[in-house]
């Protein structure tokens, strides 16, 4: 079973922050599509990142993604393992260089054998993640690349050193006057 209170708290945090930190003049991209190799989605994930606050050299964004390992389970039935990486990131940038710090949760839903191997079960779980990265993105340019250390605290039980290489494509909004 998923720890629902933890998920609810995390989502409320994501929803509340944009209102708390009203957007100001920005040169950071508003919307970015990010392809992660590794990272908090496991072996890789496709993500949408939205910057909801930015000021001079600083920005805060949230990111939601999707990933899967395989379409068919071990009995060859269509029954994919699914992952939904969610994160909140803060960045400090100067020109093209940005330091990134973030926290996240990944919802995983994996099909595996039951404890006594006599049936098939879908194991849903929540894991905590941390992000410490460096992003390179030229000012005003859409492409970015990010290298991150993304340790996973799997099922709130096991710590795993992990990392990611991310490629992003950003969509800018016009500056507010």
């Amino acid at each position: 079973m998923l720890p629902l209170k933890k998920i609810l708290f995390f989502f409320l945090l994501l929803l509340a922050l944009p209102f708390a930190l009203k957007s100001q003049t920005t040169t950071f991209p508003k919307h970015t599509i990010v392809l992660d190799a590794g990272g908090i989605g496991g072996y890789g994930s496709l993500n949408y990142e939205r910057t909801f606050f930015s000021k001079k050299y600083f920005f805060i964004s949230y990111r939601a993604g999707f990933s899967f390992y395989r379409f068919k389970d071990f009995e060859r039935k269509i029954n994919p393992d699914l992952f939904f990486p969610l994160s909140l990131q803060a960045g400090l940038g100067y020109k093209s260089h940005h330091a990134i710090l973030g926290i996240g949760q990944t919802i995983s839903s994996i099909v595996q054998a039951s404890d006594n191997f006599n049936s098939k079960m879908r194991h849903n779980s929540l894991s905590a993640n941390f992000i410490l990265g460096y992003r390179f993105q030229k000012t005003g340019k859409p492409f970015s690349v990010q290298l991150s250390y993304t340790p996973l605290f799997e099922h709130y039980a096991r710590f795993r050193n992990w990392g990611s290489l991310s490629f992003g494509y950003s969509f800018f909004e016009k500056n507010k006057s």
């Binding site: 071990f74 994996i110 595996q112 006599n118 799997e154």
Partner: protein, 275 residues
């Protein structure tokens, strides 16, 4: 320029199509002139399922293989478990050797990969208890002996544990026993002459011994044997099982040698080719 690219694509298509063609009617062996595709430790080393797990083995069998190869070790309290590596920490969140721990500890181990998954170590008893349609498949058991010394009492304990499980699940007919250690196989042959034993060795080093012992067959890396040598083994009444089949080309080359069994890491591909 356009014609150059068309020529290039045509050549590439020709090469890729041509390499997949094998003439299955040319296969001559002691297995009814058919090669049985077997998954190496389940779905092979490149699969996202860790090798030797229930999920990996069931997946290979569900794909249409004729069986699977599995690595077997024995715990301190004589439970046979499926595990390849010398130490537990290489693949799981536990540390130490299988033979140093009781089954109650091994049972708690979780495979490290893939992230977020929680695949567990399986005992041979659990496998035969739960695998679907087990009597339709072959299970080739590769006994890994990572301990430094093997007194007779240890060997006997090993084989008694195996015999008990095979009898309990009525699986003697469906199991191959692989080992590169002669005293092990000789002891098992003495205990249970009805079992199908395979000596694991390169052809030139092991053929005479295997033939003299009257074993069921030999198992060897595909690169160490020729089609002529396999023919010689067949003439001597020995089945041949090949492993080290990591790429498509290695699988195709192995088919041309007419072995009886192939333990492949390209499970899906080999099943498709041999269909």
């Amino acid at each position: 320029m356009k014609s150059f690219f068309i020529t290039l694509i045509t050549i590439a298509l020709f090469i890729s199509c041509g390499k997949n063609k094998v003439d299955l009617s040319q296969i001559e062996n002691l297995n009814g002139n058919k090669i049985t595709p077997m998954g190496h430790a389940g779905m092979g080393i490149a699969s996202q399922f860790p090798i030797n797990t229930f999920e990996s083995i069931q997946s290979a069998l569900s794909l249409g293989t004729g069986g699977v190869e599995m690595d077997i070790q024995m715990t301190k309290d004589s439970v046979l478990v499926l595990f390849h590596d010398k130490t537990l920490e290489e693949q799981t969140d536990l540390e130490g050797m299988i033979y140093e721990k009781n089954w109650s500890e091994i049972n708690q181990a979780i495979y490290k990969n893939p992230p977020y998954a929680e695949y567990r170590i399986l005992s041979l008893d659990q496998l035969f208890e739960n695998i679907k349609d087990k009597k339709e498949f072959i299970f080739s058991l590769d006994f890994k002996l990572h301990e430094s010394d093997h007194p007779d009492s240890y060997i006997l304990r090993h084989w008694n544990a195996l015999i008990k499980i095979l009898d309990q699940h009525d699986m003697s007919e469906n199991v191959f026993i692989e080992s590169r250690r002669k005293p092990y196989l000789e002891k098992l042959q003495e205990l249970r002459p009805d079992l199908k034993l395979f000596f694991l060795e390169e052809f030139e080093k092991g053929f005479d011994y295997t033939k003299s012992m009257g074993y069921y067959g030999m198992i060897m890396p595909t690169t160490t044997v020729t089609a002529e040598q396999i023919k010689e083994a067949h003439a001597a009444g020995l089945r041949i099982s090949l492993f080290g089949l990591l790429t498509k080309n290695e699988n195709l080359d192995a088919i041309e040698k007419s072995p009886d069994f192939m333990q492949t890491d390209k499970v899906k591909y080999l099943v498709k080719v041999l269909k």
